[in-house]
Amino acid sequence: MSAVILTGLGSNDPVPGNYVEVKFAEGPASLGEGTYPVLFIGNMLSSGTAVADTAVYGPISSPALSTEANAISLFGAGSELHRMIRAYLKVNTTTPFYAIAVTESAGLQATKSQVFTTTATGDGTYRFYFGDEFVDTPITTGMSPTALGSDVAANILSQTHWGITAVNSTGTLAITAKQKGLRGNWLRIGGQIFGNTGMTATNQAQTFLSGGTTADSNTAALATIANTRYYYICSAAEDSAQFGALVVQVNSMALPLVGIRQRAICGSVDSLGNATSVATTANNARAEIAWLEQGDQEPCTLAAKVVGVYALEEAPFPFRTNFSGYGNDTATSAVWTMPGPRSGAAPTRANIAAAILGGLTPIGVTRQRTTYIVRRVTTKTTTSSVTDYRIRDAHKVTVCDRYADELVTKLTLNYSGKKIANDPPQNGRVPGADVVTPRVMKAAVDQLTRDFVNVDLLEDADKIIAGTLVQRETSPNTRMGIRVPLVPISNLEQTASELDQVG
């Protein structure tokens, strides 16, 4: 047996006494102690004080980022990052978040004209929509288009978190995206006149801004965040090039030598065909795309909301695994409050099925125009040219990541600084406490497996434990090799009931 050594009490200490040392945090590491923060990647405005591409802002940065006010100060009111963080904070105020600004596109801002005609012959209201929000402007008898345009412009500008500006010129509003670049073309506006005012307004249906040009580039920002772990990385960019670059980096960082396991998530309000194309290109278990065709939200705010929900629900241990129908019941609809498309569009069942099979997480729309997550899936659908849905369910990635994190914690806390030896033969000398053998380590791994089974994150404990291999490698013989055949729990996705009327 190894000696009991108290701090400062040498073996040659001559002074009699009853010496006691209390050591804290000496037991096996408990589960679920890790943190899984969120990182937002998007554009900022020149009115913000942040440094683009090279600085990450978060709870302990200087200046700090932990509130919407911080986001406004750092990235500018109505910037892409401000809107993402605002959307995130509406569903999640507990998970720490970080943000890095990508240098804005050098291209043009997207624009749209909003035209009012005819002097009002009655009282009413004009409702202007930006995305899924709106602002009302009173119309009074005798009001000219110029006067209405002026009031509407003022009301739009008062919504400082919106991503657009408005300038009135004799009843024609020039609506302009605050941020330059292609993603401005995802901004939607619309409007509606209530009452018999006699006035007319264009863009009654939700209409995209247009004319935004030139993609930005997340290359520099990705270099900055390499080697730092955030877990949920929420990308404003939803195109194959930029989201693809993020996915490639996340995938390479997750390899064992770096060991930074993270997830990349973006949103899409594009057509099913285009969204499927991006998902097919990503084709990665660590990449997810939330999709709501014709959604009034921007892709970046849709992604931020989805990430907020995932981070919120996966924070406790054990965590939520099943997001199917999230937002469609009393408990979750209080968190998930995103309205469906104003156009009334809703994906059909076949659309939803195709989306899931294509690697998209579809957002469903109810008859009441509320929305919900249909089923959370990864973009991984193909392996070596063959259709492969083994890691379609995104919670299985979470379970495996958490198991990996807990295993690393356990191994680090319990075995750092130890020696390695082979298992002793029967009746052979048992090595001391400072020596780790395969049998000792397998017991620890099996205990972790049982812990995960006991909280219903894994199933088939016996199968996993029987298949778990822990061995001292022969080259190098200083390495313990561990292989665990994890079986993450499955979610209940369907029931099938046949009801036979027999009488």
């Binding site: 099913l272 065909g273 285009n274 195709a354 294509g358 040219s385």
Partner: protein, 104 residues
């Protein structure tokens, strides 16, 4: 009948319109795209630029109309454009018109 073609006119975007009938029985198949296993480690999809006819009794006729409206598919004739409530009809049309099942 809808006469359509995959809309590959937007640079950098090749929409993947499901062949619903096949996809829903487990066969990955997209209109106007052919899988090429030689394209990278996971293979890739290549546009065939073919004309596709979708019959009125296709169980996913509604979905295909929506794909035309969203710009994934181009309506190739006036009758198709009328059925979807407008839509783009290209000036020059491809000559070949494969049978629907072959085209998908």
């Amino acid at each position: 009948m809808l006469r359509v073609m995959l809309n590959t006119s937007v640079e950098g975007r090749v929409p993947m319109v499901p062949n619903y009938r096949r996809l829903l029985i487990g066969q990955k198949s997209y209109l106007g795209l052919r899988f090429d296993g030689s394209l990278g480690p996971e293979g890739g999809w290549v546009a065939t630029f073919e004309v596709i006819d979708i019959q009125d009794n296709d169980p996913h006729f509604v979905e295909y109309i929506r794909h035309i409206r969203s710009g994934d598919l181009l309506a190739l004739d006036a009758a198709t454009a009328k059925k979807v409530g407008g839509g783009c009809v290209p000036q020059s049309l491809p000559q070949s018109t494969p049978a629907p099942e072959e085209s998908q």
